[in-house]
C-alpha cells in the first residue's frame, strides 16, 4: 500500500480535479500538496496552526487574540476578507462557491455568509454544542448542521427557512456527506450506525449497522456506489480502528482495512480508483480499489 510521508499529521484530504495531486492542511499549520505519482511535495504554504479547510479552495485562519477569522482563497492565493469573531466549531463552503457557513458554539448559531464578499446572509439558531458536521448540498440550496447536542437541522440556504429538525437521534453525527447526485444525505457518528436520508423529503430511508465502532469519518465514491466509514475508539484516538468499505446499494461491507488510530479523513480519487486516508500518523495512506 503506497503511503505519502508528511512532516505533521494531515487533516482533511483534497484530490486535485485531475487526480494527479492531493492536498491537506496539516496539524503544524502547513498546507501541503503532493504529487501522487512520485509522492513528492510540490507546494507548501504556512498558515496559523489554528486554521481549517472549509472546502478544497477556502481556508479559515482563526485568530483568538484578535477575535477574528481570516478567510483565504487558495486558488487566487489571497485573503478574501476578515470576519469578526473567533468562536468556530466548524465551517464549510458550498462547492458552487456561493456560500460560507460557520458554526459558533458560543452564541449557538450557524452564520451563513456570501462567500465572495463575506456579507452575512443569515444567523441561524442552532443547538447547544456547536456543529459536529456542517455541510451544504452539492447544489448549495440547503445547509445542514448536525450538532453535538444530537439534533440535526436542515435549512434552505437562500431564505434561512428551517426545512427540518431531526430530534430523535441519541448521539452526535461526526461525519456527513451528500451522495454526488445530491439525492441522499448520509450521516454517522457516536452510535456506530450509518443513517441514509432522502435529501428531498428529509426522511430516513435506511440504517446500516455493522461498522462496529463509533464512526469519525465517511466518504462516498464519485459514482455513488461505494461508501467508506472510518472508526474512532472512544477510549483514546490512539487505539487501532477499522475502515469499512460498503456496497451502498446492498448495504453490505465488502472490505475491511486496519487503521492504526482514529480515522481523521477519507477521500476518493476523482476516478474512484483510489481511497486516501489519514489515521493519526504523519502520512497519507492510499488504497487501490
Amino acid at each position: 500500500m503506497p503511503t505519502i510521508s508528511a512532516e505533521a499529521i494531515p487533516g482533511s484530504l483534497f484530490f486535485s480535479k485531475d487526480g494527479k495531486s492531493i492536498s491537506s492542511k496539516c496539524s503544524d499549520g502547513h498546507l501541503r500538496t503532493w504529487d501522487l505519482a512520485s509522492g513528492k511535495l510540490t507546494a507548501d504554504k504556512t498558515f496559523d496552526p489554528r486554521s481549517g479547510m472549509a472546502s478544497s479552495n477556502i481556508l479559515l485562519e482563526i485568530d483568538r487574540k484578535a477575535k477574528e477569522t481570516r478567510v483565504w482563497d487558495l486558488t487566487a492565493n489571497r485573503q478574501l476578507y476578515l470576519l469578526k469573531g473567533s468562536d468556530v466549531a466548524n465551517a464549510t463552503a458550498s462547492s458552487d462557491g456561493r456560500y460560507l457557513a460557520i458554526s459558533n458554539p458560543v452564541d449557538r448559531t450557524i452564520r451563513v455568509t456570501d462567500l465572495k464578499t463575506g456579507q452575512e446572509r443569515h444567523k441561524l439558531p442552532d443547538g447547544l454544542g456547536g456543529a459536529a458536521s456542517l455541510l451544504f448540498s452539492p447544489d448549495g440550496e440547503t445547509v445542514v448542521s448536525a450538532n453535538y447536542d444530537n439534533d440535526v437541522r436542515i435549512w434552505k440556504t437562500a431564505s434561512g427557512e428551517l426545512l427540518r429538525k431531526v430530534e430523535d437521534l441519541t448521539g452526535a453525527m461526526f461525519a456527513a456527506e451528500y451522495t454526488p447526485d445530491g439525492k441522499q444525505l448520509i450521516m454517522a457518528g457516536l452510535d456506530e450506525t450509518v443513517y441514509i436520508w432522502d435529501a428531498k423529503s428529509h426522511t430516513l430511508n435506511r440504517k446500516l449497522k455493522g461498522h462496529g465502532e463509533t464512526i469519525s469519518a465517511l466518504a462516498i465514491s464519485p459514482d455513488g456506489r461505494t461508501l467508506v466509514t472510518g472508526g474512532f475508539d472512544v477510549i483514546t484516538v490512539k487505539n487501532p480502528v477499522k475502515i469499512q468499505i460498503w456496497d451502498l446499494a446492498a448495504g453490505k461491507i465488502t472490505r475491511t482495512i486496519a487503521a492504526p488510530h482514529r480515522v481523521v479523513s477519507l477521500a476518493f480519487s476523482p476516478d474512484g480508483k483510489w481511497l486516501a486516508y489519514v489515521a493519526g500518523e504523519k502520512e497519507i495512506s492510499l488504497v487501490a480499489l
Binding site: P105, V106, L128, G129, G130, A132, Y148, D149, N150, D151, L169, T170, G171, A172, F174, L190, D191, E192, T214, V234, I235, T236, V237, K238
Partner: protein
C-alpha cells in the same frame, strides 16, 4: 463557589464603581469601611454564573431521571455528587433540569446505553444528587471529569464540567494547576473532594463526595 479574596482599597473602588455603587470622582467621601460594606452587600447579591465548557462528543439525549447510577458490583470508587441550581441572586431556580454524564472507572463512556448518565429534576429543596463511581482517566482528556448540561425556564442553558481537586492530574495543587494543558475553564470547576469511611451497611459505603452548586444566568 469559592469566596473571592478580600480586595484592596483600589480594587474596592474599582469594584464599587463598576457595580454602579459609586460615581467616579466621589469615592473620597466614603470611608473604607463603607466601601467594603457596599462591596460585600453587592457581592452577596451577585453570584457569578458558572463557567461554561464544551459539550464534548459523548453527550446522548434521553438519559433516565434516575439518581442511582452505581449498581452493586460496579468497579470503581463510590462517589456521591450533590448540588443545587441557583440564579445569580443566590435563589433556587425553579423547574431546572440537570443532565450529567461521565466515563466509567476505566475512562470509557457508554455510547450505546445510559450507564453513568442521568437527567434529573432537583427535589423540593432544590437539591440534585446522584450515587455513582469516580470517573476514570483516559488518554485524550487526562483529568477526571463529569459533564453537565443544565437548563431551566427563563435561563440560559449552561454546558459545563466538574473536576476533582484530588485528581493526580492537578499534582496536589489545583490552585496552581487548574488550567494545566488548558483543562478547566475556571478554578471553581475543580471541586474539593470529601472522603467518608462509611459504615457496615451496603447503603453506607466508603465514598467520595463532591458538591457542585450551579449558577445560571437569565436568558
Amino acid at each position: 463557589m469559592s469566596q473571592p479574596s478580600k480586595p484592596n482599597r483600589r480594587e474596592m473602588l474599582e469594584l464599587a464603581i463598576s457595580r454602579g455603587l459609586l460615581v467616579a470622582g466621589s469615592a473620597s467621601i466614603l470611608s473604607q469601611q463603607q466601601l467594603l460594606a457596599d462591596w460585600q452587600a453587592a457581592e452577596a447579591q451577585s453570584n457569578k454564573p458558572t463557567s461554561a465548557e464544551v459539550l464534548g462528543p459523548f453527550y446522548r439525549k434521553g438519559a433516565p431521571d434516575q439518581p442511582n447510577l452505581r449498581v452493586p458490583g460496579d468497579p470503581g470508587f463510590p462517589l456521591k455528587v450533590v448540588g443545587r441550581v441557583l440564579n445569580t441572586k443566590g435563589q433556587l431556580v425553579e423547574g431546572a433540569r440537570v443532565e450529567l454524564w461521565h466515563a466509567d472507572h476505566g475512562g470509557l463512556y457508554d455510547t450505546k446505553g445510559y450507564k453513568y448518565r442521568a437527567s434529573l429534576a432537583p427535589d423540593a429543596k432544590g437539591i440534585y444528587s446522584v450515587d455513582t463511581v469516580m470517573p476514570g482517566h483516559y488518554a485524550d482528556r487526562p483529568a477526571q471529569h463529569i459533564h453537565y448540561l443544565i437548563s431551566a425556564p427563563g435561563h440560559k442553558t449552561l454546558i459545563t464540567q466538574a473536576y476533582f481537586a484530588t485528581d493526580p492530574f492537578f499534582e496536589g495543587n489545583p490552585d496552581k494547576n487548574w488550567n494545566k494543558r488548558g483543562i478547566a475553564a475556571n478554578k471553581e470547576l475543580v471541586l474539593p473532594v470529601k472522603l467518608f469511611e462509611g459504615g457496615s451497611k451496603p447503603s453506607d459505603p466508603a465514598r467520595a463526595e463532591i458538591t457542585f452548586d450551579i449558577v445560571l444566568e437569565k436568558a
